[in-house]
Amino acid sequence: MAKVSMTVNGKDASGEVEGRTLLSSFLREQLGLTGTHVGCDTSQCGACVVHVDGKAVKACTMLALEAEGAEVATIEGQANADGSLNTIQQAFQDHHGLQCGFCTPGMVMSAAALLKDNPKPSEQEIRDYLEGNLCRCTGYHNIVKAIMAASGQDVSSIAAE
């Protein structure tokens, strides 16, 4: 076992982990931050996407010890200070960007990473960026629409079907 310390959603967090402990396991099982979902556990589905030092990564494919000293952001830290949904989260609700909701934490974290680098992405850029985030319910249209809306763009012309 080894000690690991990092900042998670702005707060210091530390714990004892094994070499093989995944960042997703550390967040969920030791910190109780179960918003980071583990869907496939094979690095394909993106439900576990978090930000490490500002970059979107798959928490199920990174060792907790690799995040030593890092600033980690998870879905639990995304809401506004008053607890209301942030712009991206609200857009997912407004545009029905989810059904079962399992993929949503990863979708929101990927969307946040995209909009940080590219504040006005095109529909195609959003679809390309979400290549590593799988949703088995929505068919993606409303997710794409929500992200476009969150970036302040008109979404009235985007197909609803």
Partner: protein
Amino acid sequence: MYEFEFEKPSTVAEAVAALADEDAQALGGGQTLIPTLKQRLAMPSKLVSLTGIAQLKELSDNAGMLTIGGAVTHAEAAEAAAGPYPALADLASHIGDPAVRNRGTIGGSLANNDPAACYPAAALGSGATIVTSRREITADDYFRGLFETALEEGEIITAVRFPVPQKANYQKFEQPASRFALVGVFVAKYAAGVRVAVTGASEEGVFRWREAEAALDASFAPDALDGLSLDAGGMIGDLHGTKEYRAHLAAVVTRWAVAAAA
């Protein structure tokens, strides 16, 4: 995953020392190795992370030579190559998905030498030099077959040097589920000649298509490839495509790359 120790050294010398232990293995971004460990397909006693070594994160662009440190991620490489070597940047920015590109490293990709990976095509197609903790290896000597390279036990890729070509392009025909290259072709035109590297197709991993290179030396245009074909023997045949399909596809994709580069 089986248990293993974890070390994160800050210098190449420390990493080399840590890798001297029996069954120790280097860890780049882990985008292949961690899924492999989860399936219990490997049982290292110790993982030595290379991502904390500042030297392996260095980038430089000098006199037509782009050097990318071994622990540079695909996303970082794409950004660094965008100006000096756009074809390489394009390749790096289409590996995996954004989250994978934020962790996966060039050294990890080349050390693994997956037969369907993109970077081996860029390295071989550019005649790159693989710089390690012990020596320098030309790309022509480096790739030795399926998941096989010239790397010895405990040897670390510290950097990759890419000579910048006059023209280049990489075309990837993706296997739609994995998004790995069903076939990918990297074409680069240098003053010394054209290089054509094919990934995804052969049971021996990435290879140079010499006949196409000779034809393109004479005329750098898709028509120069008329009548040339690859032998289906030795190609990968699986549920995604037969050997014949891959051989044909590699020739088609080569034409696309030449057309895009020319």
